[in-house]
């Protein structure tokens, strides 16, 4: 309970799901050997933390930011540029973090102070504009960022796949890659638990008060701009950290993997489908989304081919694996409309009904 900050899942099914996901991720290198499975697990961890930090903004304060990938990208690029230019060493990672995280925080502070005074809509538009300018900047300043190609780099010796610790641990080798995975897993778990702590603190309560009725929160004497900006900075810090971990996992940072608008939309989809304002929704949403992204597409490819062979018009195009976002977008709209609280909210509601009946 202490670990979860007194905010348990409050639904048996949800608890089971969460335990299954967390156990699966914790044991992923042992349970699912193979590069692809480990990559998927890594991505779920990183996105769970990233989406949870976005949930702090969207779900708990009700502000829509389109600049979240910008902070994610700052973290990624900070690590990538540091390791690329200083060589693979731990001090380079430290330097990357020491530069990247404060940069993200400062930028979030500036955007927050500049635009959080006004309405949610205004903030959404400003962040969209700033983020797109940042994306262009990152892809144009090629002397620093490597342009469209991004930056590939080497990790320190200890984290490379070549470093083998145990040759055969229950049939699986434990090497630098496994260590990298666990660093990411523990880092992301710590960030999510930290966010859970934040939203259940008095500060988190004020954020929810601002979300429900900003005017009233202000009338009660809370300086809402301060609280919103603070939340924005916190979310940016977590996003930048997640970006740093992402760069370490990929040994690469580029516009497509860390900054693109598509990632922003993915984050939105994950947080809404998982459940806004719950933090747990981030874990569920990220797991479902990324599993679907990696495995559902193959199914869609099969269906598309089958439809093409059957000679149906239009269907092959609609079912093409690259069009999976179409279906997810429809699911997104449906879930905003019918289940605004997402999967987690739905499960909690059912559990609540079951206990009160």
């Amino acid at each position: 309970m202490m670990l979860l900050s007194g905010d348990p899942p409050r639904s048996r099914l949800l608890s089971v799901l969460l335990i299954a996901i967390v156990l699966g991720l914790a044991l992923a290198p042992l349970l699912f050997p193979g590069a692809k499975a480990l990559n998927v697990a890594t991505k779920i961890c990183i996105f769970a933390a990233l989406v949870a930090s976005y949930d702090l903004l969207l779900g708990y304060t009700g502000t829509v930011s389109f600049a979240h990938t910008m902070f994610y990208g700052i973290g990624s690029y900070a690590i990538a540029i540091a390791l690329y230019s200083l060589g693979p060493s731990w001090s380079a990672i430290a330097i990357g973090l020491v530069i990247g995280l404060p940069l993200a925080a400062l930028l979030a502070l500036a955007i927050g102070l500049f635009s959080l005074r006004v309405e949610a809509i205004f903030f959404a538009m400003i962040t969209l504009a700033v983020a797109s300018a940042f994306l262009v900047l990152a892809s144009q300043l090629s002397w620093l960022t490597g342009g469209e190609d991004g930056r590939s780099f080497q990790l320190p010796e200890l984290l490379r796949p070549g470093t083998v610790f145990v040759k055969n641990f229950f049939g699986v080798p434990l090497n630098g890659r496994t260590l990298t995975y666990y660093i990411i897993f523990i880092g992301c778990a710590a960030m999510i638990l930290g966010l859970l702590r934040v939203v259940n603190s008095p500060f988190g309560r004020v954020l929810q008060a601002v979300r429900e009725n900003r005017f009233r929160a202000e009338a009660l004497g809370y300086r809402t701009v301060f609280h919103l900006t603070y939340a924005n900075v916190l979310a940016a810090l977590v996003a930048a950290s997640a970006g740093a971990l992402n760069a370490m996992a990929l040994r690469y940072a580029g516009p497509d993997t860390s900054l693109s608008f598509a990632i922003m939309l993915d984050i939105l989809l994950m947080v809404v489908i998982g459940g806004m304002g719950t933090i747990y929704g981030a874990i569920i949403g990220a797991a479902i989304f990324i599993l679907a992204q990696n495995y559902l597409q193959a199914l869609m490819g099969l269906a598309s081919n089958a439809a093409a062979e059957a000679g149906l018009p239009l269907l092959p195009g609609l079912l093409h694996p690259d069009r999976w976002l179409l279906w997810l977008g429809l699911l997104f709209i449906a879930s905003v409309y019918f289940f605004p609280t997402g999967i987690v909210g739905r499960l909690r509601q059912t559990a609540h009904h079951a206990t009160t009946r």
Binding site: F114, A124, A133, L268, L314, L325, G329, F332
Partner: protein, 345 residues
């Protein structure tokens, strides 16, 4: 109870005397002019300056056409449509349906034949975008009136679906869309070259601007729209169907986005599903600069954005990438709610 003294000081207004008018705020109007004049010495060559200025005006008009719908819809309905870019892209794609099969007319070296194919293409683009606007308003926006967060999410979802549907129907490749023959090239006046298509774009943009202004200020519908912006409940209480009015405005806004889409596609001579997404950002910046809901502000904002892009691209190409943002920051420092703050929101 005491009588408030100043009540008696106010002279009774005779019926014939016109109501006091709001002072006209002309300062923003001067901004583009000042900017253009300030750039003249920096650019140096007069002919380059004229070319750049015409280019900015043409680009500004096209952006205005795309953005006007968005700002109208926001002003009247307090709905910010994050999927506005989808209408732009749809308009462009629909235009290819007309323009590509009739390629022989497009390539004919006759202004009338060219216009004879452009006009139906533009009308088709507007019709389809407008019809799509009807569906979007009924399905996506009607359930979430008054809830900003859900509006943003719903319309963003709509943008994803529309973009993916365009990919599914037309494929992911870029469709080239050549300009009609008689609109290629430029008029040469002395040592100044003015592209023909830019003149057409300016003409259409001005016509749209004047049209919107006339409807808003001179017609009953416009009166109702402006009244609806001011006070929705009051208009409803007077017995007007404000929802039907909203729907109409939304459809017109979408149709204008479609018109902007075909014009932008011809300007770039290509069509791609991602154009809606790319232009959304530009359109948003324009709408913010102008002041949400203000047509006049949107017009000036579009021209300013285009000027900064063109002059900036010529003088400091590196800076041009972030020039829009810098412009927006500068304007918002001066007027935090945009050039013309329309509503009390």
């Amino acid at each position: 109870m005491t009588i408030v003294p100043h009540m008696t000081d106010v002279p009774a207004q005779s019926a014939s005397e016109p109501l006091p008018k709001q002072p006209r705020d002309l300062l923003p109007l001067l901004l583009p002019v000042l900017l253009a004049l300030a750039m003249l010495p920096l650019i140096g060559s007069g002919s380059t300056w004229i070319t750049l200025t015409v280019a900015s005006l043409a680009m500004g008009m096209m952006i205005f056409i795309m953005a006007s719908g968005l700002t109208l819809v926001f002003g009247l309905m307090d709905v910010l449509n994050f999927g506005h870019g989808a209408f732009i892209a749809v308009g462009a794609y629909v235009a290819t349906l007309v323009l590509l099969p009739l390629a022989s007319w497009v390539q004919a070296d006759s202004l009338w034949l060219n216009l004879a194919v452009l006009a139906p293409a533009a009308l088709a683009a507007m019709a389809v975008s407008g019809a799509l606007g009807l569906v979007v308003e009924r399905v996506l926006i009607l359930p979430v009136y008054g809830q900003h967060l859900k509006q943003i999410l719903m319309t963003t979802g709509g943008l994803i679906v529309a973009e993916q549907a365009l990919y599914a129907l037309w494929g992911p490749q870029i469709i080239p869309l050549p300009l009609p023959t008689s609109l290629r090239g430029s008029f040469i006046l002395g040592d100044v070259a003015i592209a023909k298509y830019r003149l057409l774009a300016m003409g259409v943009g001005l016509a749209v601007f004047v049209g919107i202004q006339l409807v808003l200020t001179r017609s009953k519908i416009g009166l109702l729209i402006r009244a609806g912006v001011e006070n929705r409940e009051m208009v409803e209480a007077l017995g007007y169907h404000i929802k039907r009015l909203f729907l109409g405005v939304f459809m017109v806004g979408s149709a204008l986005a479609g018109l902007g889409g075909i014009m932008w596609a011809l300007y770039r001579e290509q069509v791609h599903a991602s154009m809606g997404n790319d232009l959304t950002v530009l359109v948003f910046i324009v709408v913010i600069i102008g002041g949400l809901g203000s047509i006049g502000g949107c017009f000036i904002g579009a021209i300013l954005v285009a000027m900064v892009a063109n002059y900036g691209g010529f003088l400091l190409p590196k800076l041009a990438l972030v020039s829009n943002i810098l412009l927006m920051v500068a304007i918002l420092m001066w007027r935090p709610r945009g050039l013309y703050a329309v509503t009390s929101r």
